[in-house]
């Protein structure tokens, strides 16, 4: 209720004094935190004011006619219906304005396209419906998934501050360095956008697009996928943390160590219970978007795994589907996306959850061997 009262107040205020209104009623683009985003903001404001000026003249004359040349006021129609001079002028003047506008736009565009001499390269891959960030010079990478709980989306819980704009693993970049993004996609076209950077580029399967940024202010910056990519297109945010360089270096070292640990996990001996526990969690992040937490899927697009022929059949076929995917469908090859421990845990979980009672399990080592045989 309180929020609504605020809204009504803000509505009247916002309409009368847009500049004074609260954050919720922002009416304009923000300048952002990079050189590019500031250049874009300037272009945006310039062209906006040009439009306002042209509009003021054209609508001014029009309203004057509406006001002064009414029949009810006794206006008699004039007889003119062409004037070469005027017509040439109002063709040429807009042309000149546009040429003037095109010059700074061209300069900014050239700058945006200059992806050379980067300090750090990050490969960004779009998946239905998450992002993968691979630090190609550092040899590690990870997935970034939405963390907003489904209960908030379904209105069973109050929505958090960063509703729909929060992820488990944000991209981390150092401030002051030129970061180059290499964008591609695994299934359909996605588009990676961080408004504060002025970076938006499509991630297209079979193509590698390039974009770059240099962020000067540390902070957490949020954006979203902007190319319709299926059911959960609205639920694959982009979060980037820009941190000071030392912090970035420690973070990279941690990531590398963690990657090493994961490799060790594969060698460890696992019990059924451990696998089931890990599997439930990993399933929820990697598979539930399509097959649903309860294993019922969303037929016919996404089949149920509860009682499915594969999840309750030959284990080799099950491993094959999960590791290699089913080409030409939304079922991706998870072999390259998840580590062996997660793959083993998920498969074991699927065979023994929701009333699937196969009683068998597969270990990370077996998955490792399976992958290496291929």
């Amino acid at each position: 209720m309180r929020v609504h009262a605020q809204r009504v107040g803000a509505l009247s205020g916002g309409l009368l004094f847009p500049a004074l209104s609260m954050a919720d009623w922002t009416v304009n683009m923000t300048p952002g935190v990079t050189g590019t985003s500031n250049d874009i903001f300037d272009l945006h404001m310039t062209i906006f004011w040009i439009c306002v000026a042209i509009g003021a003249v054209v609508f001014g004359i029009m309203f004057w006619s509406i006001f002064a040349h009414r029949k009810s006021q006794g206006a008699k129609p004039a007889n003119f219906h062409e004037n070469t001079m005027v017509e040439v002028l109002w063709t040429l003047i807009p042309l000149v304005i546009l040429v003037i506008m095109a010059i700074p736009a061209t300069a900014t565009l050239i700058d945006m396209y200059d992806t050379t001499e980067s300090d750090i390269d990050i490969k960004v891959t779009g998946y239905q419906w998450k992002w993968q960030y691979e630090y190609i010079n550092e040899d590690f990478g990870y997935f970034s998934n939405l963390t907003t709980p489904s209960d908030q989306i379904r209105n069973r819980q109050t929505k958090g501050e960063n509703y729909l704009l929060e992820v488990d693993n944000p991209m981390v970049i150092p401030v002051g360095k030129k970061v180059r993004f290499l964008l591609t996609a695994n299934d359909v076209i996605h588009s990676w956008w961080v408004p504060d950077f002025g970076v938006k580029k499509d991630a297209i399967p079979g193509f590698i697009n390039e974009a770059w940024t240099r962020v000067d202010k540390p902070g957490t910056y949020r954006g979203q996928c902007t190319e319709l990519c299926g059911k959960d297109h609205g639920f694959m945010p982009v979060v980037v943390k820009a941190v000071p360089e030392e912090e970035y270096n420690t973070w990279v070292a941690d990531q590398k160590a963690a990657a090493e640990k994961e490799r060790e996990l594969t060698q460890k001996d696992w019990t059924m219970d451990e696998l089931m526990e890990r599997g439930e969690k990993a399933y929820a992040t990697a598979c539930a978007a399509c097959h649903q937490v309860n294993g019922n899927g969303v037929p016919p697009a996404f089949p149920a795994l509860r009682g499915s022929a594969i999840a309750t059949g030959d284990i080799a076929a099950h491993i094959d589907v999960v590791v290699n995917g089913v080409s030409g469908t939304a079922m991706q090859a998870f072999g390259g996306q998840l580590n062996e421990a997660d793959l083993a845990a998920i498969i074991t979980y699927e065979r023994n959850a929701w009333g699937n009672k196969m009683g068998d399990m597969v270990t990370p080592k077996e998955i490792f061997d399976y992958k290496n045989q291929q």
């Binding site: 916002g14 054209v58 040349h69 063709t91 319709l228 697009a301």
Partner: protein, 527 residues
Amino acid sequence: MSAVAGTHAQDHHHGPARGISRWLLTTNHKDIGSMYLIFSFTMFLLGGTMAMVIRAELFQPGLQIVQPEFFNQMTTMHGLIMVFGAVMPAFVGLANWMIPLMIGAPDMALPRMNNWSFWLLPCAFLILVSTLFMEGGAPNFGWTFYAPLSTTYGPPSTTFFIFAIHIMGVSSIMGAINVIATVLNMRAPGMTLMKMPMFVWTWLITAFLLIAVMPVLAGVVTMMLMDINFGTSFFNAAGGGDPVLFQHVFWFFGHPEVYIMILPAFGAISQIIPAFSRKRLFGYASMVYATGAIALLSFLVWAHHMFTVGVPLAGQLFFMYATLLIAVPTGVKVFNWVATMFRGSLTFEAPMLFAIAFVILFSIGGFSGLMLAIAPADFQYHDTYFVVAHFHYVLVPGAIFGIFASAYFWLPKWTGYMYDETLAKTHFWLSFVGMNLAFFPMHFLGLAGMPRRIPDYALQFADFNMVSSIGAFMFGATQLLFLLIVVKCARGGVKAPAKPWEGAEGLEWTVPSPAPYHTFTTPPDVK
């Protein structure tokens, strides 16, 4: 006058057939025009209902009414139905009714094909709408149906969607051929090309655009059909294909398509503003040339829809410059309309109100178009609600208000009665306020960073979305009033004279109201 007398004698022998066969078998341009218009309004209400579903879901953050899968089907079907079902058929309906009357022809040049091109449309839309009830649901990949979302990842109903598009395309091409044949061959003696009413000019140019690009659309959906059903890989990267190729082909159709939806409205507005300003259209010749220039340039700007796709820098610059250039002839048109009003003798009946709103609001859509043309800025605007605001400002006050203005302008001619002016003005003001309330806040949402085609959004977008939904409901409900006004007008009222508008000019006003079933069986003489 001889035309009128001749018509009267013929009425006894060649009046309309009775019953359903009148409509099924008719080759009369007026009957077919009416059917197009009724069909278009039906589709407008259907597409509008889907827009209401979209706006209801977006009323508040969170998922309340529909699931994301269904939301995507709603946006896709809304876009497709509005573009191909509401706007395009409405203009073909107006062309059918008015072009023969305006050029003094007895009918369209190819009347049987005319019947066929209309009746294809209900078939196409029956197929399209039936996909909603198919397993896997209706198309859910946006009205732009980008591959591979629409091919490899499309729902099973995609093949039906392709078939429906093919049928619509055939219908449009036949309609366009008919317009060209009629305008080029059947003008009354003395009506030279440069004496044609602007509506006829803009439709002639639109017809050429249609013939040029509908086959391209047919081509792109056929490639999809092959990819889906016959194992080709036009758009499948895994098979060596190219998803970006899809976008180039689609937008080579798609950009001229947006002019197909607006040029006939330009023409109608160029008839209406002089009529209610009681003054000749300013700069007739430059209007004709500007329309031609827009049509030609519209083939050179398609990649402005693809600035974020990764087009090379040189291409990016070319498409930015070409797009800025197209603003010049568009500006010329707006200036001409304003100059026509300047020092006229203005009255503000419903057609004029819609026409003035057209000029103002279409210009606002044009301004945001100019902003979108600045390629670096488009990186921020692209695929956000700013774009949704932009194209609704050109399509709703552009195409739809243009159609309403035309309908009120010519209703007396069609029905023989005057419509209820008070109700019509109410319709106008409610539409005007609702439309601005619905779409103006979308600019703010887009600039604040809200992507388009999402069923749920972050909390900072909540307030403007609520405003926008309220405006949308208002606009939507108001359209039922239009239905009421038209039905009321068709059933009776104040008798309309042959020329109900003091300042109107043209051959259509020389025949009685309602226009007899057959007109201009002997061509009139144009000085």
